[in-house]
């Protein structure tokens, strides 16, 4: 699909799945895009866990080959895939179409500025129970699409997971649903590595 066709489909409610890694996504992505990191092994399973099957989807991969492969995998699995973005981000920007950033903060900034954020954990409940940032709540990645509307974003939400893959997904869903959200880079791996405090249980 050309950038203009993608934009028109977005305005009709289609979701752009950005298949890149979390850092390039945070730096710059199509307005409204959702971050779903690609891999051939379990992309279909993850999309199935996160989104409703009838959601019209457009793939954005860099390089383009990734978008094509993802479109095939998901349409073969029965998803409503409209196509993939031709020419990638470069073509999109050449058309003057809007790109946005996802703000990020690392775990040190999170620790220093705890009161300024609503901390949300994007992992599965069993992981959250085992240990999480004190005071954080859970918005599991598999629930996020359906529950994001209820999220409190005053103060803004800082989303964390083990690494960054599920947190960036949940943050992008929150932003799409009109919430103020930021991504915690480095995730619980960095938090634990620095020996920052941990709270156990379901909070």
């Amino acid at each position: 699909m050309t950038p203009a066709e993608v934009r028109a489909a977005q305005q009709e409610g289609a979701a752009v799945l950005d298949l890149r890694t979390p850092h390039p996504f945070a730096a710059e992505h199509l307005e409204g895009a959702l971050s779903v990191q690609f891999n051939r092994a379990d992309l279909v399973d993850r999309v199935e866990l996160v989104f409703p099957e009838d959601l019209p989807m457009i793939m954005h991969g860099e390089p383009e080959a990734i978008g094509k492969v993802a479109a095939k995998l998901l349409s073969d699995a029965g998803f409503n895939v409209l196509g993939h973005l031709e020419g990638g981000l470069k073509a999109w920007k050449e058309e003057g179409l809007p790109v946005v950033q996802l703000p990020t903060l690392d775990v040190d900034e999170l620790k220093d500025r705890m009161g300024e954020f609503t901390v949300v954990d994007a992992r599965d409940p069993f992981e959250f129970k085992y240990g999480h940032v004190p005071g954080s709540g859970i918005l599991s990645w598999t629930e996020a699409w359906y529950e994001a509307d209820k999220a409190e974003d005053d103060p803004p939400i800082a989303v964390i997971c083990g690494d960054e893959i599920r947190s960036v997904l949940v943050a992008s869903i929150l932003v799409r649903k009109g919430k103020k959200a930021e991504l915690v880079t480095g995730g619980m791996v960095d938090w634990v590595e620095r020996d920052y405090p941990i709270e156990k249980g379901m909070g």
Binding site: G61, P63, A65, I66
Partner: protein, 264 residues
């Protein structure tokens, strides 16, 4: 560190991915057209890594490279040693330059002999240790054998040596540069087994160590460079089909259509 060897069996060729799971970035070394640029893109994506650099140990004569295409697709540099005599632009480096991907350092070791620009890449995983862990030896040192010195085409301007002198350079390069590395360092070559880039003693095994090759690599047991050169000549395999065409393409002197399927 994420380290992966890709083997292209029709040509007994090995290419590599060196990446960092934390930085989510990777370098690709010596990609081959037989697998194709999309192959590397998808393999890296499967590992959650974006390709941020494409490196070659040298300009190849026995297989068609897809380094240019892969670098362009990813919008990242294509790196070669500054001696590489290509007609297209690349990002050059010098001996000793270090490229970093997350917690992994890749140090360029200039190892001429097979070609005048040949470079090996020393890999250090700083998340484990400051000691190097592996070396990508390209067509300098193979498992059980060494790279042949007689596949030069199109780069005579830079190469003032004859075949015998290049063989002697190969000997001193391996002895003084590669065998000077810590003996635990693992050796990962660009070829194995039946590849025509080395001689009849090349092993089908796809990796070795500096210790093992120093001790048991037959060519390197020779007393001096002259004996080594003679041994390499005597144990050489036939020249690869179409190597002049392939090398010319890899140098940028031929278009892809002119290859007519050679070297893929």
């Amino acid at each position: 560190m994420i380290f992966k060897q890709f083997r292209y069996e029709p040509l007994n060729q090995a290419s590599y991915l060196v990446g960092c799971p934390k930085a989510k970035e990777a370098f690709i070394i010596d990609p081959i057209e037989g697998l194709g640029a999309d192959f590397y893109v998808l393999e890296a994506a499967d590992l959650g890594l974006a390709i941020t650099g494409v490196f070659e140990t040298h300009v190849h004569a026995d297989y068609v490279s897809c380094a240019r295409e892969l670098a362009e697709m990813n919008g990242c540099p294509h790196y070669l040693h500054e001696n590489a005599p290509t007609t297209y632009p690349y990002t050059s480096f010098k001996d000793g330059d270090v490229f970093t991907v997350g917690q992994v350092d890749m140090t360029c070791l200039f190892t001429p002999g097979h070609t005048p620009e040949h470079t090996s890449y020393l890999i250090t995983d700083k998340s484990r240790s400051d000691e190097p862990w592996a070396v990508l030896t390209g067509d300098c040192l193979f498992v059980g054998d060494v790279g042949r010195p007689d596949l030069l085409v199109g780069d005579q301007a830079l190469d003032v040596m004859d075949e015998g002198e290049r063989a002697q350079t190969q000997f001193t390069t391996i002895r003084d540069i590669l065998f000077a590395l810590p003996e635990h360092v693992e050796v990962y070559p660009n070829h194995y087994g039946g590849s025509l880039c080395g001689g009849v003693n090349m092993s089908g095994k796809n990796s070795s160590t500096i210790y093992y090759e120093n001790k048991y690599n037959l060519a390197m047991q020779k007393a001096d460079a002259a004996e080594f050169a003679e041994f390499v000549r005597d144990t050489a395999k036939p020249l690869p089909d179409d190597y002049e065409k392939i090398k010319s393409y890899n140098l940028g002197l031929l278009e892809k259509e002119e290859l007519k399927g050679a070297g893929v």
